[in-house]
């Protein structure tokens, strides 16, 4: 019963959030700040992890495919496919759920317990719209760019691993990366990313907005935001994969 009540509360909050902003100029300003906070500030972390993940996949693929009957192209091909299909959209989204999700929940939660949200309300401003909508918009627009960046760096990381360890020549790796490319896989990755971005920002926004109490509750709801977002990402990953790939 509690879950149903929470889902209902979440839907009502989203209905409040998805209204026309009180002032376009203020919304755009908030959006720019959220692009910076939720997107640009994550580039370093996403880039670092993507390079290493790509390198590790390339090395593991090379290790597992030492049979001379298997094409050398498979290392580049597998690295590309894994980055596009799963590692960039899903794993990077899980990492963003930890970084961005906890930040959104704790920011909004702190505003709630220090009466800043009440202050917005009594000024005649819709707090859900003012605080949550720009964050959802920023995440839905910026995360696909981060994921494309992650895919590119992952593939480059794999190439870097080939160069530094000598497991494969650049020619074979590049041939593999270019082999049997299906453009829809990228569309699939971007659709997943948009859905995951919505989950991260809206669930974390909801967790922050519904904090009651003090700092302990803010911390508790920030943790819940990360846990619930991660669980939903995995569930929707399965649903979208089934719907889009099969």
């Amino acid at each position: 019963m509690k879950i149903i009540a929470e889902i209902g509360e979440y839907v009502l909050l989203m209905l409040q959030a998805f209204r026309r902003p009180d002032k376009g100029k203020v919304f755009r300003r908030q959006l720019m700040m959220d692009f910076q906070d939720l997107g640009t500030n994550s580039i370093g972390l996403i880039g670092f992890i993507s390079v290493f993940v790509g390198a590790i996949i390339a090395i593991q693929m090379a290790y597992n495919m030492d049979n001379p009957l298997l094409s050398h192209k498979l290392v580049g091909f597998s690295t590309r496919q894994m980055m596009i299909l799963e590692l960039s959209p899903t794993i990077m989204s899980l990492i963003l759920a930890g970084k961005v999700g906890s930040s959104i929940a704790s920011e909004i939660g702190t505003m709630k317990v220090t009466e800043q949200i009440s202050a917005l309300k009594v000024m005649g401003i819709n707090p859900a719209n003012y605080l949550i909508l720009p964050k959802i918009t920023a995440a839905v627009i910026y995360n696909p760019l981060l994921i494309i960046f992650s895919i590119a760096l992952g593939i480059l990381g794999g190439w870097g691993a080939c160069l530094t360890t000598g497991i494969m020549s650049t020619t074979y790796y590049v041939e593999g990366v270019q082999a049997w490319y299906e453009p829809f896989t990228l569309t699939y990755a971007l659709i997943k990313t948009v859905v995951f971005a919505f989950i991260i920002s809206s669930v974390s926004g909801y967790m922050g907005y519904t904090v009651e109490g003090g700092s302990v509750e803010v911390a508790r709801n920030s943790t819940k935001a990360v846990v619930y977002s991660s669980i939903l990402i995995i569930i929707f990953d399965l649903i979208l994969t089934q719907l889009l790939l099969i």
Binding site: Q116, V122, M123, G124, I125
Partner: protein
């Protein structure tokens, strides 16, 4: 003028406000006093629309606020200024941005005009060189003054202050009280102050409403409160050594 008509409010089985009727007059500093847990904060939150009331109605200059839709309530809220207990300044904004915030949201003033209004308001609360400071860099008294500047930046008709002196030293508390009283007269606002600070009661209480266990127990001015025979009010007012000594001298 704000008229409170027979309002009641319960949380679950617990009745927090019981059939309260009173009036907060224009151009006066109206105080709500009472012990912690008496229901005075709930009464104020009902007035500003943060809590829905169960019975009765609240009229702002003959406009029945409690019966309005959320959209109509918003229009009246734009005429309110609220000073929250902790200030409720936006952490990520500077002092200037905090005071400018209502102007950004509800006016079409140019940046120049908004800056001018912000500087006037900050100067009115004696904070002339704090424009670029963040709330984390301010003292408790400064936070309250910035919050007052923000609350009055749109020149509201109604000013609500929730425990404006909590956490302040007596000297700073007196400055804040004096400021609230001066601004009330200057802008002809209907000011409602929620407090249990007896110094505020004596200094600025033009009309005082004493709430006891969710009921309106006594009403009068700061002069009348010292001579009251009401037992519960006497117990509250003269609960400290200082006020007891003061009473002996009267």
């Amino acid at each position: 003028m704000i008229e409170i008509n027979n309002i009641s409010k319960s949380f679950g089985d617990q009745k927090v406000l019981n059939n309260i009727t009173t009036t907060f007059e224009k151009g006066k500093t109206n105080l709500i006093i009472g012990q912690s847990g008496s229901g005075k904060t709930v009464l104020m939150k009902c007035c500003i629309g943060l809590f829905d009331i169960d019975e009765g109605h609240i009229d702002f200059d003959k406009r029945n606020f409690s019966a309005f839709s959320e959209k109509k309530k918003r229009n009246i809220r734009k005429e309110m200024g609220v000073l929250f207990q902790g200030g409720a300044l936006f952490d990520s904004f500077t002092v200037e941005e905090n005071v400018m915030f209502p102007l950004n949201m509800f006016t079409k003033m140019s940046l120049e005009e908004k800056r001018d209004r912000v500087n006037k308001m900050l100067s009115r609360v004696n904070l002339n060189n704090a424009n670029n400071k963040l709330p984390s860099e301010l003292s408790g008294g400064m936070i309250k003054r910035v919050a007052i500047a923000r609350a009055i930046s749109l020149r509201p008709k109604y000013l609500f202050c929730d425990e404006p002196n909590s956490g302040l030293d007596p000297k700073t508390a007196e400055v804040i009280d004096a400021l609230i009283s001066e601004l009330t007269e200057e802008f002809e606002m209907t000011t409602v102050v929620n407090t249990h600070d007896m110094n505020s009661v004596l200094q600025i209480g033009q009309k005082i409403s004493y709430i006891y266990k969710g009921n309106l127990w006594w009403e009068g001015s700061n002069k009348e409160i010292m001579k009251t025979e009401n037992k519960e009010l006497n117990d509250f007012v003269f609960s400290t050594e200082l006020t007891r000594r003061l009473k002996l001298k009267l």
